[in-house]
Symmetry: C2
Subunit: 219 residues, 2 copies
């Protein structure tokens, strides 16, 4: 029952977001093989029949290969396809995007981390892919706890506020933000834990179990 048609190449690519120095960034990989050998591109690879249960497993494998561990948040973005997008021929690329706290990436060669508004020219259709990934991230940020996955497990209200502003790319009122977030039950106070610094200490929060389970189900 095999199809009589030639089949396209099937690959996965990944858009790995992080926030470094208050700016939304992407992690790129230098290509080790042709085509476009030596250029920076989105980390990706073919789907392996043997190792990958599905494309999401393939994406996880690619991400582990790039950063050494699993991304706290991973979601399928879109599938790009066509005869022209890859010089090797007709191909289908299932693209995933992931959010990774910069704190987990310290020590990574920062040469491969670029602000999304200052990326080098990208090969294939990776420019379009990035545009779509940023659009999706911005869209979801406004009505979900998604941006919190760019922070480490403990964070202050101000950290969260800043992260939302950076991913959305707009100013948000402090008092309203606080009120809205607390009303959604997506974060919870860590009792008696504060971030202490030069001035008034800030309450530490963590994602609530509600937020965590909601996102395992990929709301």
């Amino acid at each position: 029952m095999e199809p009589v048609y030639p089949q396209p190449l099937v690959m996965v690519d990944t858009a790995l977001f992080t926030i470094r120095d208050e700016r939304l960034c992407l992690i790129l990989a230098r290509r080790k093989e042709p085509p476009f050998e030596g250029l920076l591109a989105l980390p990706g690879g073919f789907v392996h029949a043997q190792e990958d249960a599905d494309t999401e497993a393939a994406a996880r494998r690619v991400i582990r290969g790039k950063i050494g561990f699993d991304a706290p948040y991973l979601e399928q973005l879109f599938t790009f396809s066509g005869a022209a997008r890859d010089p090797r021929g007709w191909s289908v690329s299932v693209v995933y995007y992931a959010l990774i706290p910069w704190s987990l990436l310290e020590g990574n060669p920062s040469a491969e981390v670029f602000p999304v508004d200052a990326l080098p020219p990208l090969p294939f259709d990776h420019g379009q892919i990035v545009a779509k990934a940023v659009e999706r991230l911005r869209g979801k940020a406004t009505y979900s706890s998604l941006p919190a996955f760019l922070l480490s497990a403990e964070f202050t209200m101000n950290d969260l506020h800043r992260i939302y502003e950076q991913t959305i790319g707009a100013r948000l009122d402090k008092a309203s933000f606080r009120h809205k977030i607390l009303g959604q039950d997506i974060i919870e106070e860590m009792p008696n834990r504060f971030r202490t610094g030069a001035h008034r200490p800030a309450q530490l929060y963590r994602l609530s179990s509600k937020a965590l389970t909601a996102f395992e189900r990929k709301i």
Copy 2:
């Protein structure tokens, strides 16, 4: 530079939504070949290297084959993959969903149109696919002009109101709905055009160019 790995089967499936008798429905197709020959399933097929520029073109081809014309609204939903989802083996299915006004479908064998909450058992992983498609449609309905594509080009405010209620599956206040919709500039009055009936005539509207272009860009 061909990959050394075996490649999965690549296909497209479609979730074709319409509203008939005030209920959100899906159009199914009776399978003409094994596996699951004779059962109702989502319309789909393999991607043809010769005919299809990309998976979206393949989806359009499948849809034309099923209903005879192009759907007013078509969007990629998600890509499902795995070794177990199709008995023919490892496969990747790029799924699209479409919105089709029932008025364009009159005469279609209604035996193949089922309310989404009363579908027959579906083969493959089509049950999951439907669940995801309904979820996406409902999600987008609340903040976009999407449901309007289930209506024909001219509609009254009440038509629109009813369609939103049916896709979202909840009651919406008449006055608030009207106010909100008009504030978004997604529809515009058709000057001096009314739907006349037994009682007070209703203003006819159409989608604004803003809404149309927004959705060509797949917001």
